[in-house]
Symmetry: D2
Subunit: 353 residues, 4 copies
């Protein structure tokens, strides 16, 4: 009953097998190997985009920060949700890679940017050299709260961003979960909706350590090769990352994994919501569940062997609050979460409630 | 007959097996897993050092640059050989991680720092705020030319460095090859000789992607945790790196691998030196061979299926030069190089000479 | 009737004279001149501090950013009021000089940090490497809202900061106005209250372009000399800055100038508050007045020849708000503001109200 | 007899007067004042260039580093002479402002880049992501050795630079001395010859602290405004810099000052060269003299009251060397140097020789 995160599990079997298979033989170093070379065509097909450029890296933090550095100058501002992962959980990676750009946080329930607040921020942007000019917007898909932007929602935000000269980045650490939830072609919720660069995550959904920076505007790709090398993120044995990413895409393994995780989260959420005294802060849309529950229940669950984190958020829905005697929690499911695990947890919860 | 580099091969069998074994089950993320936690004791034992601190990362560039950033302020100077890997082959990673420090190159045959030149540089160091103050020395062990610093040689350079307030870093991308060549305890050629931080390489000698930053002065470790996270080099699934490093050390696998590579290089060097018209620029001490050979021979070897790079160097021995009609080349052996491969290459060379 | 800012005026006569006087003759460059050398003793006497170190620079932005860079590592957090000048009016200078540190904003009426919010922030500081650790607190004296921290208020905040390992910086762009208002020795509201580095402003209070970074903890001074030079803030003709600073301190010229500005602001504030429909957002404590006034009055004042800026603030007192038909404005007085100018403005205001 | 540098003197009388005159009255801050606004037209006329953009700053280090940051990305290389001021005398300002770009030094007598070496460097540029790509060339006019590039020499270097995608910067700390020596329109030796950005120096030739970044390619100007503000180099009282620059240009004051300095240097050089045992390392072309003289003579001159620095250089002409018993020295004249001063020095030298 480990719902701490979707990165506490190892690689899925097909991905691990692919790493083992790719290990044999000599291959050119630094990404000149055939597996890495084949990624470009692979991602172009997946995203139905003729000239996107893809750069594999080992971590989501690197993917996000390198992408932002390609879009935001050192003196620029990057808009994001105030609870975005880049804002609070990457130890200032965007600031490091951009050489001192600044993140500006926007509000919105469930860590999903409120479009009205976004518009207001853009309109109020000062135009004096004393203030850093906004140059990018980054959206998390799914959000830190497990919510999913629909294609039209992405398009609306991206349109405003572009109109004001901002490039648009999507942090897709849980992109697979979002796409599985939406059931749309990945193109619809990315470049067709105005996304310029996507951090395409795999590590949280079956890979050991693999992400891809997918650049839909080739002009933004120019500096990335150097930035990645300079940061030590160009692996000498490129096959390690490439093998994972190929296996991740083979037979829609990525979507199958995400669908499992989403289904488990939905089951968990439904079950929890039925327990007296428990309510969900916002709906379950991907693979995360955010219940507000009685403190004694949280204690009992942990004593009973369940693992999950407490949470706090500035983006509860209007009118909602964590009251005295209550606890706010986050539960994450993964491709490896089983129905038995979920049901055991729910049984325990019902027994303790 | 691929002698292009020691990173064109995959992982050794024991290391690949370890990755597979470590994949099972849930483990805390971001280095809080038991495999990662056990690395500290492991390296302390290996280096007979009671309080060293170890940080696994995926690449040598990251290891070197993070280490240097812990030692050199943005306004500081880092001395290295003018042909050091950090100087010319990491796309400015040290400059990136240190936020703009500068590398200053020293001369010396075979990319091995000439101690007299080092002394002269230290003595001539200007003392005005217009000049960046030297704050670190970095030594490559083995050097870019495949030469090995003996413990007394490291000690002599480190003593001078410390006397002038410089910290000492060792780029050990091929540390195993050096230690295997020296036959001494790893402590003797590192902290006992004055090295403050070691980049302990594994990727070129059997791992897929794993290096360790080994910090012998705990005060220098303080910032590394943040610098690594901020750079996206703290893997969420720490087991990937830790499993490789454990297997690398198990049963002195690292030394056995390096010894094989060194033996193959020695055989290759000996064979080449006996061929008329071929001479070695400097001795083979680890796993690299630097022959100067007739241009027609180089062509024939490549046409015959051998893979290796041409080379050029500013650190040929006094009096030596690559003459008209000659080519300077670099051949690297790895743990996976076989005697058959070496002998086939030598047969071909003899046939074409 | 120019109340736009305290930097729209030129230098005071004594300071301009000092620049002219200092111009004659040859003097060593880069701060080795006798005028610059004498600053150290001068500031030590002024602050009754035996070993402070002082670095003149030309701008407050440089003073603040260099000071913060000496206290906050690239991966560190710097706490400040959410409306602090460093936060929004220096185009990211702190981020540039610190190489990517982050400013975190705290609330409080009139841009004065609320001590309870400060305590809460310190207590809630996460302790995981994913989050940037807080390393400094910067206070503006006087604040962006023209309020003044009393010595005991500084001491209370500094004590909390130090207890949590944060260094304390004071942005004293209007330090003279604050000290003139407090009537205490400058030491009492700086190092004796726990301030580690002070940006001692002069440009807004009589100088043409001169500020001093006053470092009360000598260990923090070590890197500043290099950082200043590297930023191009070590003037070759040091006499320009030094002459201004000497004249600024001579005969308490700095305090006399500030007292004039404060007196004019007080008169302006009193007069405005008596006009029907006008109220002050918070008290006048230094040389700034923040009235909320009818929109038609603001228009009439500007048409009548008055110059001042509109304002907006997130730190209005609880319960206060700018209502429909009202305008929030900022008026600043300087050493050069005359009583006639203030009275003309008030007459105009009364006539238009 | 102070020949230490051209920055040991104060401002010229017309420039000082201009500062005093500009001090009166209220003017908008941060460069919105009329004096600053008028600079654009002034420089466009001077350089006969319809859309250049000019940014005043207080120091040459800032001018150079900001200019380079506008041309070189953090991962780029900037070519310069190995003895250029940016290379060794600005404490790494280019590295700071560019966020970690690297300077690569080229050889050439008298700190003047050897065009053949430049061509060779460009041709040998590696094309792998492991190496930083060259993005700019910076020329010092006059050079650190006081030599002057003729328009055709600039054009030849700039043509090669542009052909390889490098922008061209000119460090004109002593631009006036060079132009006075060449007797050509300033346009001929700058944008017409291929210079993209010029650091137009004034501080060494009559100003107190004023330089202008003159951008001939408007696309390169876009980031400079932010970079300057962010670095604290946008003075709040812009009139200080603007007044100096206007007076500097009025009635060709800049060229008159430079012509005086050059004439004094020529006289000094001629006189020295006639003294037995003294020779000039290279010709006097601007306002610097580089004699090699007997050590006892140097001692006597200093004991006799002369001030000047010893020098060392890696760019002596082929065959030239400083021999045992000799000293290499640098003497600089300024607009304020008098013939009497020069003659007194020469008399002393002749008496001691």
């Amino acid at each position: 009953m480990n719902f701490a995160s979707d990165n506490v599990t190892g690689a899925s079997a097909p991905i691990l097998d692919a790493v083992v298979r790719a290990n044999a033989g000599a291959m050119p170093a630094y990404g000149a190997d055939p597996l890495t070379a084949a990624l470009q065509a692979r991602f172009r097909a997946l995203f139905q985009h003729p000239d996107l450029v893809v750069f594999p890296v080992a971590t989501g933090t690197a993917a996000n920060a390198i992408a932002l550095a390609a879009m935001v100058p050192p003196f620029g501002l990057c808009l994001c949700h105030e609870e975005a992962h880049v804002m609070g959980d990457e130890c200032g990676a965007p600031e490091f890679y951009t050489h001192g750009a600044k993140l500006a946080g926007l509000p919105g329930t469930g860590a999903k940017i409120d479009p009205a607040a976004f518009d207001a921020t853009l309109s109020a942007m000062p135009r004096h050299v004393k203030q850093m000019p906004a140059r990018a917007l980054t959206l998390s898909q799914a959000t830190e709260g497990g919510l999913v932007y629909r294609p039209d929602e992405v398009a609306r935000l991206a349109e405003g961003a572009h109109r004001h000269g901002l490039a648009v980045h999507m942090d897709g650490a849980r992109f697979a979960n979002a796409v599985a939830a939406l059931g749309c072609p990945p193109a619809d919720v990315t470049w067709r909706a105005g996304v310029d660069i996507l951090s395409f995550g795999a590590s949280k959904n079956g890979a050991l350590a693999a992400e891809a920076i997918v650049v839909f505007r080739p002009d933004l790709a120019e500096t990335i090769e150097y930035r990645r090398k300079r940061a030590g993120h160009l692996l000498s044995k490129g096959r390690l990352l490439a093998a994972q990413l190929h296996a991740y895409l083979d037979d829609d393994h990525w979507l199958a994994n995400a669908a499992t995780a989403n289904r488990m989260a939905a089951r968990l959420g439904r079950g929890l919501a039925e327990i007296p005294g428990v309510r969900l802060a916002w709906p379950v849309e991907a693979n995360e569940v955010f219940p507000i529950l009685p403190a004694h229940l949280e204690r009992s669950l942990k004593e009973g062997g369940a693992t999950f984190y407490g949470w706090h958020s500035t983006s509860l829905p209007p009118g909602e609050a964590v009251r005295e005697g209550e606890v706010f929690a986050r539960l994450i499911t993964a491709f490896s979460t089983t129905q038995a695990e979920v049901d055991a947890f729910l049984d325990l919860a019902r027994a303790c409630a």
